[in-house]
Point group: C4
Chain length 499, copies 4
């Protein structure tokens, strides 16, 4: 044991609000004064007071977090980890079942589409990680509508078109890419995979698609940029900080490191309220929560914890300032109605992403694909369709979904969760397989729709009447009548039948 | 034993139609002559003839009932309760299971939304109480449509609006309140909680919202008014009695005690026919009901029993009389089409509640939110939108529901059942938690919709096309085809998969 | 043993195609020559060759059948039933289960609506009887749509109408009745109840409603007429025979016996193909049916067997002849589009029943209530609405259904199956209880809609937009996506929760 | 053992990529050089290297395949099959269960409609065969929509039409046939039945309907033609080869052998991607597929394997050439929008089949019946409705489906899968029974619709409003609300009930 190393016992003494030390990656930190400032609340830190917090810390904090946010005087130095008591984990039957399922996990080649990764991930991911990735706002109606909305649009394919050579490559914000989708920004990659977002970077390179780097990544921004190869292109997704100086620093740094697009998130002045995520956290810490205790530090799930810096005062007035601090194309991510798209054109931004944030923010916010069908005719009517690039994300699972968006007029689509599920289940190979499946589907479906190039896609190839009626839903039916009804049955298999 | 006290044995002698005594709260009453007049029928009284009826009596009758309706000569005085034979309750397996469930009940903080209270209440409430609160008319299509109708309306949120400071306070009938919902009137609070409606009064105070006092409360009107604190505001919900003198007395008393609004129920000339409620009563007393006996006193559930005084002859002609007896604002509760709203304006009332009585009265009566979408344009067309305050109730479960009503033009929304479920499961803390959840959701959703004050809400923030097509339902599909279809499956987890 | 009586042994000798005797109600008949003419096929008779066929015979044949259709020379006289060998029935597990269910049958008062009778009947009726009553054409989509169609129509109730006194009586074809429904004609009443249709006659009397006598009754026409009391009114439903002389005789006889309306069925030139019915027959006789034997006498269910006499050549040309043979009002039963209603007016008939035969004939034929919504405006446009009485049947289960039909403009509605289910389960008391339930609902719902008399009902009380979009159905959704989705869950009840 | 016969041992030596022999029908073949050219990939052949491949070979290759495609020098001659080692099959629990089900299989007469055959086939067919026949594109939404679309069209039947004599015969491309459907082309008949497509030929003869011969049949073209009898008529379905000389040879040969129509498939420039089919193949060979191995020869299911010759460059420019090489009527099979039908008329072809290839190609391609409703008015508007014959296929299961297509204006409909299921389950008798069921339904339904001849069918007999709204689908509903809802229940059966 090195002379200047702390012992586990020493650290363990500081296990309270009054003096709170934690170990992260073999080093001790005094976080006593930091407790009230912790964006995720004190409670989660106190759970690890005097202990090793690395496992909990990692997915939620980029590696440079402690250096950035905790004064050096609080960095207490190396701990001799052999002296740190290993906490025995309580037996968790759900976790044990997960371990069993992991042993029986299907091979990667058994995944034939993007939904398959979700089905596998649901079985093999840690409960809290799954809850964070898969959850949506309120009743998750919007999240599901995002995918379902594509089923309201049907094709009007053309026959007898020469489709021997399919070229699905396109250009997005000036960057040529192999297929018109990009990896959209999603937070906390290390929840699903120990290496985090760099896995997506590598897979994006393999398939020549663009990656959008999230503000709330588990890896640091620089790690993700360092992971790119050759002329690979990345964009930056930005949550705007209340402290504009921090934002300016981030933007300048991104531009310097070669980012080719600045996607400002505008649909999330406040993050979260995803109940699946909240409930998964809850059972974690449920033991000391008392019924009726109204002073309790209610956990709002991972999303809320990590987003307290976001500025809800961000407004149209800020756009010229962004224009002034960067030469990157500026794109508003999360536009949700035609009025705001028109205003965006006037504000001189370079693009918009029609998106409801994957159904994670406002419940019953319309899907991006539906908004797209409203936006493009309004742009064309004004001759503005080339003044701005329009992207869409949310619910894209099939090449047919991509094709529908492009027929309507989108430049490209963003895909998020499916790649997270693929990464969490099968790592980089999984993400690459998912992308390959989309390419296979895309080639086939362009043939079947009668379009050999992206430029051939147009609205006349679609029947969009299903979007016109709004969200009509269905009236509840009578359960008494349904249950009283005796359904027809198919021929029965039984001994008697063959007598 | 006090000399002037009756013995249980003495009371037990009077156990028939010919001489019927019952004990309530330790006192004996001779109800022989009252039997034919009992609004709930003789049968239910005879079940307790010669016995202690307190438990059955309490939730259905305010404490001043016996004083008000039974001549003092029939008040027989104190009973020595130690001499009253305790009836041994038959073992009820359903009740035993409920007791087991109560032990496993989730803590209050595990409730993340208003539906969660309903899910808990369904498990922990007494069967008959649950049946009374949760039941609706006929097939309960209307009751469910009330909530489902909100899902036909989707948002068109605005971005880049400064939403740092959210102010969700508003004014209803001149009263400032913290958020635009009120606790609407619901009957028989003691079915769910031993203290009854005063629990709601206290929670309403905590959150600075208005409570509407029900005519059919378990607590007496004065108990509920006594429970208010400071400048807390209450309204009165009124079922109009066939005897207008009684009604006049009630109204005058309410005004004197400070009620700030008179809500006359106009959608219930006759109450009830809720089969879930009827069925729950039935199994209670099923043993002596004989098949084919057509003279039997068919139980119509709690609703019918307590409402025989309501005047089905109430009509527009009565409105001026109401105007003459009170200075309180007059609001018609239960208006269901635009024609009647216009007539209400002409009749000079101060407000309407668009409501189908929580789906408890007329089956396939349209939801309040749908009627609202029809009413407001008609009012605006005539420049009448400020001549009347329009409220809506039924199916409100989420802040998004409240926001949709307000965007359409409502002044506020009434919420009933969810608070009953919260009260029945967790008492006052439950109701307060439910209200807090709505406030949390409201703050977040106003941010996400791009509105920082109630005045910012307007119809352009909504897509209401889903309401335009009427109630289209779905044609039944072919079960043979559905069953013959072999659904796709996700990758399988099994030993073979990993070989 | 009487000298002139036959022995069971003697009859049993005639047990083949070459000589076939059967016993019915204690008498023997030689049906050898009749075999090829039997409308239901030879096979079913040969099953009983030499045996007692009474049980199978009764529900399908009115008692006067043998006298009418078998020459007296074939009536062989009394059989000494003590000498007839009792066939031991093979143990039938389904029947044994039914017997168990019969013991646990709910009491009549546990039935709160017409669906409840169906739910009970499904459990207690003999399988073949249930199959005959409950089956519909093809996939039974139409049968279910009949009821579901009512849910597409919603009310626009009026408030503050004096509804103290409700009068639901009305006049149909000149007959005053207590409520605007009638018992429509349904075949084979003895399948459900040993006494057959006379049970319905008696219940109709109790409630002062009109009964329509079916051509295909189990009771003879005269038995049903004999069962009426006082000034009770009956109508005749008529299947037109290929031999018009027979039809003329039936009509003349009905008029003489006092029938007040002639309902000519026009939607059934051929009866049947109801697969539930066919399948139920099949398993009955399945043992000797060989796979691939194409000469087999395929059973088409009860409907086909009893209807071979119906004339598929019946046409508009026949109407004047009907006019010439009777003074009864003539009503066409089974009209299905506006064009044919207009033609019926021109042809001078007195009424139409808009009906798809209870969904038992043509699959995806529109419901009567939908056709009504198309027909009445067309009649009113021409000022013809009083030249003809319009009735509707199919799917009526609730008073709200009746009210919707009357608001649209129908004079009355026919109800069939629900009364059969009530009769089969609880006999006359069941039918009367069902009728009483409808009256209770009707009184309540007229109050709630704001109409005190039948004349107050009008189309402005309805929102029928749900009928305008046609039968849009729903596109199948993706099972992969649905299954991959992890639904939200309510708070869990478990040990951990309360720690 | 004959002197010139090979031994099993000798063949077994050639069991690798370097030297690969296989036995088919008792003869050995050297396929070493052919391996890279095999359209289905090398892998599947190597599985049988040195072994008897007959069972796998047969359904996928017509008997003349080896003669046609493998040089005579590679034909190694007879193998003494007694010396070939019988491979012991691994116990397959799924197959064992299937064998059990086969024993309990319902008799043919228990099938009352075409769906019943599907339900039986699903239970008794080999897994891979079932997967090939039953699978569709992507999520199989389109495949199911094909049938569901018919349910959006409802009848407006006419009454009082003389329908005594029903004549359902018609003429298609100049050929008189007994009923307006034909057996459409489907691939790989021997997967379902050892004799393959000739079974369909014989059944078609029995019922006087036309058979379309598939390019991808298991039987050779000549075998299928040889199986026809008398003046039976056949058509040819054609996948166009990249090598036009081969196509020309096929067409000339078909014309010479008497085919009366040339149906050029235009909706399948690339075949397959049916995941159910792919997954069924996968588990077959899953053992040597490694997770993450991206060089693996991914099986794309049977469809892809057999279709690599199809020319994706086929275009409108090729039509005159087809006109020049045959006198047969030319029909484009797989047209999917009105624009292409109009172009087809101008191109001078004789007919079109509106089809999405049974939902097996492009997901969310509209159903043929929906396209028909768009096409016919456009043709009539131009007076072109007699310049081209319009057929439709996909989802036809009932005579009502056929009638709807004919009312809209189709000359006839193609039926595929149902006959495959009937053949696979019950052989020729099954197919004949299926056809007879359609005829029975057709006769009945023509009566019920009021049409005695095919010429009587017209659009006024339909209500097609359900097709007008596009594919509106349904918004996902809230599972929390649905689960919290306590459904009504019917009367309970229990001991207590009868006390």
């Amino acid at each position: 044991m090195a002379q200047d190393q702390l012992t586990g016992a020493k650290v363990a003494e500081h296990n309270s609000k009054d003096s709170c030390w934690v170990i992260v990656h073999g080093k001790a930190y005094d976080v006593t004064e930091f407790l009230p400032e912790h964006p995720g609340g004190q409670k989660i830190i106190l759970k690890y007071a005097g202990k090793d917090a690395t496992e909990e810390f990692d997915p939620i904090h980029p590696p440079d977090t402690l250096d950035k946010y905790l004064d050096q005087s609080k960095h207490l130095g190396q701990v001799d980890m052999t002296t740190v008591e290993q906490e025995e984990k309580a037996f968790d039957p759900e976790e044990a079942e997960r371990q069993e399922r992991l042993k029986l996990m299907p091979s990667l080649t058994a995944c034939y589409n993007l939904m398959d990764f979700e089905a596998v991930a649901r079985q093999v991911m840690k409960k809290t990680a799954w809850a964070y990735y898969s959850s949506g706002a309120d009743d998750e109606i919007t999240m599901r509508e995002n995918h379902a909305a594509f089923h309201k649009i049907w094709f009007r394919p053309r026959i007898l078109v020469d489709v021997e050579n399919i070229d699905m490559s396109t250009t997005m914000l000036g960057t040529k890419c192999s297929i018109p989708f990009y990896v959209t920004a999603t937070a906390l990659g290390k929840l699903g995979h120990p290496e985090g977002e760099v896995v997506l970077t590598r897979a994006a390179k393999t398939h020549d698609v663009i990656q959008m780097i999230p503000t709330l990544a588990s890896c640091s921004f620089d790690e993700i940029v360092d992971a790119k190869q050759g002329d690979q292109v990345q964009w930056l997704q930005l949550y705007v900080n209340k402290d504009r100086a921090i934002t300016e620093k981030i933007v300048a740094h991104a531009e310097k490191r070669g980012c080719k697009g600045l996607f400002i998130t505008v649909d999330a002045p406040q993050l979260g309220r995803r109940e699946k995520d909240m409930r998964s956290k809850f059972s974690d810490t449920g033991s000391d929560v008392q019924s009726g205790d109204s002073n309790v530090d209610r956990s709002q799930g991972a999303a809320r914890a990590i987003s307290s810096f976001i500025d809800p005062a961000l407004s149209w007035k800020d756009i010229p300032w962004f224009r002034s601090i960067t030469k990157m194309p500026i794109i508003l991510k999360g536009v949700q109605c035609v009025e705001d798209v028109l205003r965006a054109v006037k504000a001189g931004v370079d693009g918009v992403v029609l998106s409801n944030h994957g159904g994670r923010q406002l419940e019953t916010a319309r899907s991006g694909i539906e908004v797209l069908a409203e936006v493009m005719p309004a742009l064309r009517e004004r001759g503005w369709e080339h003044r701005i690039e329009v992207y869409v994300d949310g619910g894209v699972r099939r090449a047919t979904d991509i094709l529908k968006a492009l027929c309507l007029g989108a430049k490209g689509v963003g895909i998020g969760r499916p790649f997270l599920y693929a990464m969490s289940s099968y790592g980089q190979a999984g993400v690459e397989h998912a992308m390959q499946l989309l390419k296979d589907e895309m080639e086939m479906n362009m043939r079947l729709i009668g379009a050999s190039r992206i430029e051939d896609l147009n609205p006349r190839l679609l029947d969009t009447r299903g979007l016109m009626g709004g969200h009509s839903g269905v009236i509840p039916s009578d359960t008494l009548g349904l249950r009283a009804y005796d359904p027809l049955e198919a021929p029965r298999f039984n001994e008697k039948a063959k007598l």
